[in-house]
Symmetry: C2
Subunit: 406 residues, 2 copies
């Protein structure tokens, strides 16, 4: 059996006819080398955003079910055009939509989770020698309703197909050369990372790195799918996402992320009683607010301040909810600070090294950057700082942990 | 059980957001009256043409299978948006694609024929009280490949669904008030026809009237589906397409059509031998040429001229094929005349009236219009004339057969 590769091309890789032809050429070059290919494609360029706008012109709160019917057309257009472009190069190819593949999801429209993949039609088409072009980002409920898998869902389609088809690897093509130690637009000394663990990649994606959808990395980790993140515009190797390897142990910090899309909310003068935090965050959860970092200072009086961060998206409702909670629990004012950024260092090496946090705080202190909140996990440390200091913080940390050198 | 109506809205009725909202209002008004509704929608405005152009920018001869995957997105966008617009008015609605409905077709991509309709999902959604919005023009093969039903295929979807669901009637909404005695842009005295038989409508559609797809009228006739062709911009009654009725007998000519999309081809000096016509038209059929009218003059020598008409679409290949045939059978030159028009009169009343043809020829003669070819059927007579005389011919015939008066 020839090797099977699943390749995924994002919207920027197929943004126009010229780029679609470029992608077709790359696919053909792999076919010539004798690989079997399943190719997952996103919608052309900004198509998804344009369709969302179209829906907004009809309804301020469009039905999630119908939004999925609408959005899934974006990928369907891509796969047909890419199949045509491959035919032009003399190769056999067929396109398949999510329902044709048999990607069965739950019914959480606009953010559905895959529950099963039939893939018999893919196998059938592969057997005929076809390159199979699959519409990313979409599935179907057991009840035959169209669903979409949330932003970045094409990554998930690719990883899940690689697992189900037992592919040799999954290549994620993007408009950058791979995963970088930090955003090169902020720190030009950022270096491409050759290898990164699933855990580190997951942490970086969750903390703001945009290259891959976090959920798809979880799935890749769970099923040990080998991922290669690379550029669709060059042949250079990119970043391999793998299980932890011996040779990776020397590295303490793998990368630095920055996230400016969070706001800090502080509920002041919270009565310091058992169960009050549970009350606050229980009510927020019920209201559908996704809280990220939480900090409560040890109090020496009968009152304390509780701060937490949330996505700026939906901030107005969160602020209202927090104010209502504050009244209920007889707390004081609610302060909202949108002028913050989260800077994080990520690396599995932290587990076995002491003093990494201290090193981070020291580097920030030397730049006179004030830390407002701290949060740690096994393999990451995050600090909330003023937004205006974010770039300086990234550069200081990049240098501090030796990421400038290779 | 409340009455069930199938309504079909063409691309011009849903060309933009404003028009989609207008259609939603009309649908809601019927729901308020207590009807159950299945609504078939075409792609927004020129979407289909735009998608065809997009494919052409990738390939000069795009795969028919992939063309269907691409084109079917047009209707999928329409149904989602229309469902959203209906929700805005406070009514329940769900969209369904061709495959979700279970419209099973053969595998003749871009021009597939419906072989079966499951419709269980439609029935299920109707039972829940939903207005069901169905993507027109599309189906799926038994092998789960997406197909489209050819130009005007949404009419076919509507008529076939009306049959399968045993609907009380099928309303075809369009941008004109119904079927006219002739094209009102040519003859301003043209009158809306209140009732027309399936056979007359079929003949008029085949002979150039653009309002409804001919194949859908065949299906309506076969299953006796009551059709009402009417405007999506007014509440006025349009044209009912029905079986022949007693009260319709008085009318001899129901309407006049004009078709400028045909060319006349003449093979000169054809040896006058038995079987030569069979040879010519057999070879043309094998080459996929769809011949329309055929005229062969009685010959008094050993040679004759044979003329026929074909669609201008694909004329270059037809001309080449005819030249090759002429060489094979040792005939003379092949002449092509694109400067012709076909003018036809249609009416079931002709069957029982003599002298209708003579009346037609007389009216044309009085305007000094030369007839180049004549073809007749049970309920129509067509003449090929010079294109520049077409408008004058239509007006003369409209007056001759009393269509100006009501």
């Amino acid at each position: 059996m020839p090797k099977l590769i699943v390749q995924k091309f994002g919207g920027s890789s197929v943004a126009n006819v010229e780029k679609i032809k470029n992608v077709a050429n790359r696919i053909a070059s792999y076919k010539r080398k004798g690989y079997n290919l399943v190719v997952v494609v996103s919608a052309l360029g900004d198509t998804t955003d344009e369709l969302v706008e179209l829906a907004a012109s009809i309804s301020s709160n469009p039905s999630a079910r119908e939004t999925d019917v609408l959005l899934s057309t974006g990928e369907q257009i891509s796969v047909a055009l890419l199949a045509m472009a491959i035919h032009e190069l003399g190769f056999e190819a067929v396109s398949l939509t999510g329902w044709q593949v048999g990607i069965i999801s739950d019914a959480s429209h606009t953010n559905a989770r895959i529950v099963d993949i039939k893939a018999s039609k893919i196998r059938q088409e592969l057997k005929k020698g076809n390159i199979v072009i699959v519409a990313g980002f979409q599935g179907m409920t057991a009840d035959m309703d169209i669903t979409t898998l949330g932003r970045g869902g094409s990554d998930l389609t690719a990883v899940a197909l690689a697992k189900v088809l037992n592919a040799d690897r999954c290549e994620i093509y993007t408009d950058v050369n791979g995963i970088y130690t930090t955003d090169p637009r902020i720190e030009p000394k950022a270096k491409k990372i050759d290898e990164i663990t699933y855990d580190e990649m997951l942490e970086m994606a969750s903390l703001g790195a945009q290259v891959m959808q976090a959920r798809s990395i979880e799935v890749a980790k769970k099923f040990n799918v080998l991922i290669h993140v690379r550029s669709s515009f060059s042949d250079n190797p990119g970043t391999m996402i793998i299980k932890e390897a011996k040779r990776m142990e020397g590295v303490i910090v793998r990368g630095i992320t920055i996230n400016k899309n969070e706001a800090k909310i502080t509920i002041c003068s919270v009565p310091d009683q058992p169960g009050v935090a549970a009350k606050i965050f229980g009510k927020l959860a019920t209201a559908g607010v996704n809280v990220d970092m939480i900090v409560q200072n040890v109090s020496h009086t009968r009152e304390t301040d509780i701060s937490f961060t949330v996505a700026k998206n939906g901030l107005a409702e969160t602020r209202k909810e927090a104010a209502s909670i504050a009244r209920t629990i007889k707390a004081g004012d609610v302060l909202v600070d949108e002028d913050v950024a989260r800077v994080s260092i990520v690396g599995v090496g932290m587990k076995s090294h002491h003093g990494v946090a201290a090193g981070m705080f020291d580097a920030l202190a030397k730049k006179k950057i004030n830390i407002e909140m701290i949060s740690t996990s096994d393999i990451s440390i995050s600090c909330i700082i003023k937004k205006k200091s974010a770039e300086a913080a990234v550069k200081a940390l990049h240098s501090k942990f030796g990421l400038d050198k290779k």
